[in-house]
Point group: C2
Chain length 432, copies 2
């Protein structure tokens, strides 16, 4: 895997999210070897991950194998691996896998972000986040098992604890999770149990600031709040989480006993800033030059949630899929220009195409700057936009069919508790 | 959960496979309380599990939540739990979950079978079987990771080891797995890699007897053999596996170096015979009375792969889904007759509706006794029969659509490596 990459320049892209993948695709005509490294073998449509966590979609409907996306792009290769470090002097990327190094002429770092536990990483075991497919299926298992255990629980206090769901963080992830869990409890599961009434479930959304969706205009925050309350979600504003343990949380001085806590708060960039020894902001994002390169290293670019890019008004470009995509396409243009010896393109500018968030069945909010809507029409729009951007025709079709089916029949097909047992059951108790 | 089940008699069914589920459904008009216990929350359409293992279908397409199947059957309840033992005297079923006991007036044991490692249970870690969703996704991960690792492997010997796949057992599971892996390697993945040619993969199917599919007529065994050879599978007959380790297997005195070994041989009934302290055959199956009850206990029934039922010619009823279903419906009739004070029905008789197996794309074999066919027509028949028996309209539709799509486009959508990392990645290396 070492140097000797031949005469063609080698472009290494780390991370196959929206940023990295769009960079790789935009480089299809570059006369260079493009190596895309990711630790999974698929591109994940993260905006719908919460629907995997709430049993609405299956993982394969929002994940597409990278090799099938780039199959026909002959200058691209894919490497399944976990990057650990970057050697800026030697121009190599270092993989966790024993001794593997990949050398580059141009490097694009697009490693995304994680949730931030505000210095309390020990809370993660009680309050898992929602960034990977594994986390989404683990959360789905927790939610569904809570109902199953409540069904056979005879102690009323423990039963209440099992039927209490706390979501921390009132950003899009938290709002969408709260709405989806409410839908599950109050509609989908209603007739499934004999000893509990799933409608009695308590769903609490906790936000530290004084309104939900703080990056949206205020009237849309209000609309989201009202939609959630209508679904039976308790919205707690201006409350910070002080503790998290296996029996619940303390927020704003008040204790909530709950067996299921989901973390959707804070954003911390991946450790890329450490690898690059770069200037970063408090969230760990790399401060980049106007062409998204690493200051002092015009051959290294940082994009997406890993980069801090400021807009004309001084505020940062938001950490959303369209921003990452635009940045991926932009750096592809910069690198192509360098390879061809053309002048550098204009500095990067983010074009805000609007923001969307959904709140359960039939309600959503949309903000296009010139148009701000909420309610059913925003929800239909949300569905169309998400289906349109799903990569791969088949997934688009499958998701559309599933949503329509779910809408008209009130059912959820992906309601499987998988992975609760070890794959190997031989030494374990017999199947029942 | 203890006694005090009220005045209605309580029927407990352990296991929600084809046998247990069909018994529960056939008891829908019985004036009794039906409790179905399973350690998963879904019914699994096991005949298609190999397609999950070979990335053709997603788990949610062949698994249906039990609660949605029995939602409208008011006399039925579902209990998620693992049965550990049965107390025949006290008439209770004992759950692994701390101290839980469930009392019964009638008991149906339908706990299925596992693969048998012929006394070498330590082989399971090297050669996983294919009975659960977790095992299927673990096998899928192994197969796909083998290709990924081969792509970056520089040692030609290790690369060959990675591209060698051994399937042990030439029954339907082994034949179907071998055909599907061949399809994956020789068609689906062909253009996905840059450094390896997936078509060079070696797929070896090892069978101890002198022909494949030994429960089928001989000419169909031959047809299966020919179809597999055409797909590039090496079929090794009359060879017993002598050792299994992480580098490969020894079979018939010959060593095969392979990183992926899949076990599809032997059948061992679940430990139900031990719980019931019952007479059993060498495979651990309970010898039942002609009405499928446990000799000496007319209130306990054993069905499906857990029971040894003999046909008129003295041979055992095969361990296939239709047999389990017929037995489930039969014991429901016996119990209903007892509850109503009606005379007992005739002894159980198995009606052979035919056997089907598929070998990769466009080939299958079918045996209906009066009709034995192989080839494309048998394959279409196989597809229709499997779709027809898939529970739940949506899954039927989804699987049909997916198969048609795969047939005309040569693509496989569920090609995801999931679960390779721990769900919690905070303490682990950063995402790449």
């Amino acid at each position: 895997m070492d140097a000797a990459a031949g005469k063609q320049p080698r472009i290494v892209i780390v991370g196959a999210g929206f940023g990295g993948l769009s960079a790789a695709k935009a480089l299809r005509r570059a006369s260079a070897k493009v190596t895309l490294i990711d630790r999974t073998n698929y591109h994940l449509f993260q905006p719908l991950l919460y629907q995997v966590a709430t049993a609405e979609l299956a993982p394969s409907e929002i994940a597409v194998p990278l090799r099938s996306i780039l199959r026909d792009q002959e200058n691209a290769e894919i490497l399944l691996g976990t990057v650990n470090d970057v050697d800026l002097q030697a121009r190599t990327v270092i993989l966790q896998e024993l001794g593997q190094k990949v050398s580059y002429d141009y490097l694009v770092v697009a490693t995304g972000a994680q949730h931030s536990y505000f210095g309390h990483d020990e809370w993660e075991r009680y309050a898992p986040g929602l960034k990977t497919v594994e986390e989404a299926t683990a959360i789905r298992r927790r939610i569904l098992l809570a109902f199953e255990r409540a069904e056979t629980e005879t102690d009323p206090e423990e039963r209440r604890r099992l039927l209490t769901f706390v979501i921390v963080g009132g950003g899009p992830t938290g709002v969408e999770m709260a709405g989806a869990i409410a839908g599950l409890a109050k509609r989908i599961l209603v007739r499934d149990f004999r000893h509990i009434d799933p409608r009695s479930a308590r769903i609490i959304l906790i936000e530290g600031q004084d309104r939900l969706l703080s990056t949206y205009p205020e009237n849309l925050s209000m609309a989201a709040d009202r939609s959630l309350e209508r679904l039976g979600v308790e919205v707690w504003l201006s409350k910070m989480v002080e503790t998290c343990d296996e029996d619940g949380v303390v927020a704003g001085g008040q204790r909530i006993e709950a067996r299921t806590i989901i973390w959707g708060a804070g954003n911390a960039a991946s450790p890329a800033a450490q690898w690059l020894n770069a200037d970063r902001d408090r969230a760990g994002r790399v401060k980049v030059a106007p062409d998204l390169s690493l200051p002092g290293h015009s051959e290294v670019f940082v994009i997406g949630d890993t980069a801090l890019v400021t807009m004309d008004d001084g505020s940062p470009v938001p950490g959303v899929a369209p921003a990452a995509k635009q940045q991926g396409e932009y750096v592809a243009k910069v690198i192509s220009a360098k390879l061809a010896g053309h002048p550098a393109p204009e500095p990067f500018r983010y074009r805000n195409l609007g923001n969307l968030a959904t709140i359960g069945r039939s309600a959503a909010i949309a903000d296009f700057g010139w148009l701000r809507i909420s309610g059913f029409f925003a929800w239909v729009l949300w569905g169309l936009v998400h289906i349109y951007f799903l990569i791969g025709f088949r997934n688009r079709f499958a998701v559309a069919a599933k949503w329509l089916w779910a809408y008209f029949t009130v059912d959820r097909g992906a309601r499987l508790i998988i992975g609760a047992q070890e794959p190997s059951s031989r030494s374990a108790p017999p199947p029942s």
